[in-house]
Amino acid sequence: MTEVRLVDIEKRYGGFLALPKQSLTIEAGEFLVLLGPSGCGKTTTMRMIAGLEDITSGDVLIDNDRVNDKPPKDRDIAMVFQNYGLYPHMTVAQNIGYPLKLRGISKAECTARVLEIAEKVELEELLKRRPSELSGGQRQRVALARAIIRTPKIFLMDEPLSNLDAKLRVTMRAELKHLHHELGVTTIYVTHDQMEAMTLATRIAVMREGRIVQLDTPKKIYSEPVDLFVAGFIGSPSMNLIKGEVENGFFVAKGVKIPVQFSDRCDVVLGVRPEDLEIVERQRANIMAPVYALELTGDATLVTIKDGATSICVRGPADFEANIDEVCHIAPRKPEKLHLFDKSTGERLNS
């Protein structure tokens, strides 16, 4: 098993600083998910680990071996590219089998392996086609198959499931999870899908503008976001962020009065996830506002209430019914699920 260490790596494209000095240790056998908005430097980070991009300064260490000047082919990495990078002149089978061919593995063994992997990604009927004759999702699965056909030291996967339908995505996710369990290969994985990040990751690194903002287990990231950015980025529907102030042990905002254990302070933001709120009878209510929208998601109803600038989403029971503009009463389920942030710096205030 392989450990990857990024030490003070920095990446500039001309004058543009894509990645300011960052350090990150990916432990042996870990499944690390990189999460962050578009353009935050996830692909760049991966390309530097793979050796496709020059590192402006800093070191990349694979198993304590400085690999800055090692060409990609000697790093023993398999990668799924964000835009696939399939070989257009080869058939699907040839594409998938190319890494084995390069290693001088016999034709018979190669064919057998290709067939086995193709079945895993449900491509066995398309083996004779060219990439140009495939749909986006099919191409993506070819790219995935080409990466997992051999056991490298490190897997780099840049949104490998982004183009698949919901059902296939779940199947492939399970497939990847199993593969990681079976082989224990250190994996670095980019996704925009919360579920994927939560279910697959050993740890998640949340990135913003080239910086790693928080590096933690999925559970910790979800339950204790370090700042407003992480709080707003993780979770779907996202965490309610209510601007207000703390007065005499209560967080107050328009239509909101919730007891919190915190000293008085202006300009705070209260964060609370929709599932940590519940619809209650009038007497117990901490939040009161007219219903703005109702969305049935299947197993629950998302109720959005709105009073002036404050808009709050609650996860209610599936059979909840109310009229629009009817006043709705809400209370937090548990006081420990309330997050307080500084409005100007975005930093977390309570622990």
Binding site: K73, M79, F81, N83, Y84, G85, L102, S132, L134, R139
Partner: protein
């Protein structure tokens, strides 16, 4: 209705010019190729002689020789130009001040007139005072005093060299264009999959260049088949008839011996050869549609 009439009316001048300068001469030469016409004896074409002119060509050693010379020239110059152009393009495709500068000055040979190239090379390969002949002689003493243009094989070699020198830059640019359109990820994926630099080029880059290389080959073949200017100014078809290309031979028959019927027939044979080769290339190109980029 009026619009339609107008659009046809506007086409008339262009149509007239094309007919007068292209269609009419083509048709005229085609008809002439079936007639007897010695320009030293009469001003208008003589009797129809059927396929006699064509039959004569097949039997005549002068024509057979020029056909053979042309084949050797075309194969040598097309292969050499393509290999050189592709290699140069691979070297020059990276970005950098030196690369850009080289790319710019590379176009110079192509800016030169072929006839002048012939004259210049004739001077440069003069065994006594030519800079290339003397230079080569001083680097490789065995080559001292080599009569470059007086030896049949060497003259052909020099002719090929001038043509390759002339065309390589242009073809390099075509290859550079082709290289630029190859998705970068395909090469990167291959490098990560473990391919050496050589295998990336051989197994990933070149197969994707197939279309561009075919088009380049078609163009170069057609230009090589028409080879005329440098033959006139560099070797004059000689020594003997060793560098007498088809185009040069046709010119001689028509404008030295004034045998117009025979010259027309020869010209049409050359045209036919070009058409067959082009059709073959185009078929290869079309069968290649699978390699459209993914």
């Amino acid at each position: 209705m009026q619009d339609r009439f107008l659009s046809y009316a506007l086409l008339v001048p262009a149509f007239v010019i094309v007919v007068a300068t292209t269609i009419y001469p083509l048709a005229y030469s085609f008809i002439t190729s079936f007639r007897e016409w010695d320009l030293t004896r009469q001003r208008t074409p003589d009797d129809f002689v059927g396929l006699q002119n064509y039959a004569h060509a097949v039997a005549e050693t002068g024509f057979q020789n020029s056909l053979w010379v042309t084949v050797i020239f075309v194969v040598a110059s097309v292969v050499l130009t393509l290999v050189l152009a592709m290699s140069l393009a691979l070297l020059l495709r990276r970005r950098g001040p030196l690369h850009t500068f080289t790319r710019i000055i590379l176009i110079l040979p192509f800016a030169m007139s072929p006839a002048l190239i012939g004259v210049s090379y004739r001077f440069m390969f003069n065994p006594e005072f030519g800079v290339l002949a003397v230079g080569l002689g001083s680097i490789f003493p065995g080559l001292k005093g080599t009569p470059w243009l007086a030896d049949p094989d060497l003259a052909m070699a020099v002719l090929v060299v001038t043509d390759v020198w002339h065309w390589t830059p242009y073809m390099t640019f075509m290859c550079l264009g082709g290289l630029a359109s190859i998705p970068r990820e395909t090469e990167e994926a291959a490098r990560i999959d473990g391919a050496s630099g050589f295998r990336v080029i051989w197994e990933i880059v070149l197969p994707q260049m197939k279309g561009v290389l075919l088009v380049t080959a078609i163009l170069k073949t057609i230009f090589a088949l028409k080879m005329f200017d440098q033959v006139v100014t560099l070797t004059g078809g000689g020594p003997g008839t060793s560098t007498e290309t088809l185009a040069y031979f046709v010119f001689n028959v028509g404008f030295k011996w004034y045998d117009m019927g025979y010259a027309s027939a020869l010209a049409w044979i050359l045209t036919l050869i070009m058409m067959v080769i082009s059709a073959w290339y185009v078929r290869m190109l079309l069968s290649d549609k699978n390699t459209a980029t993914a």
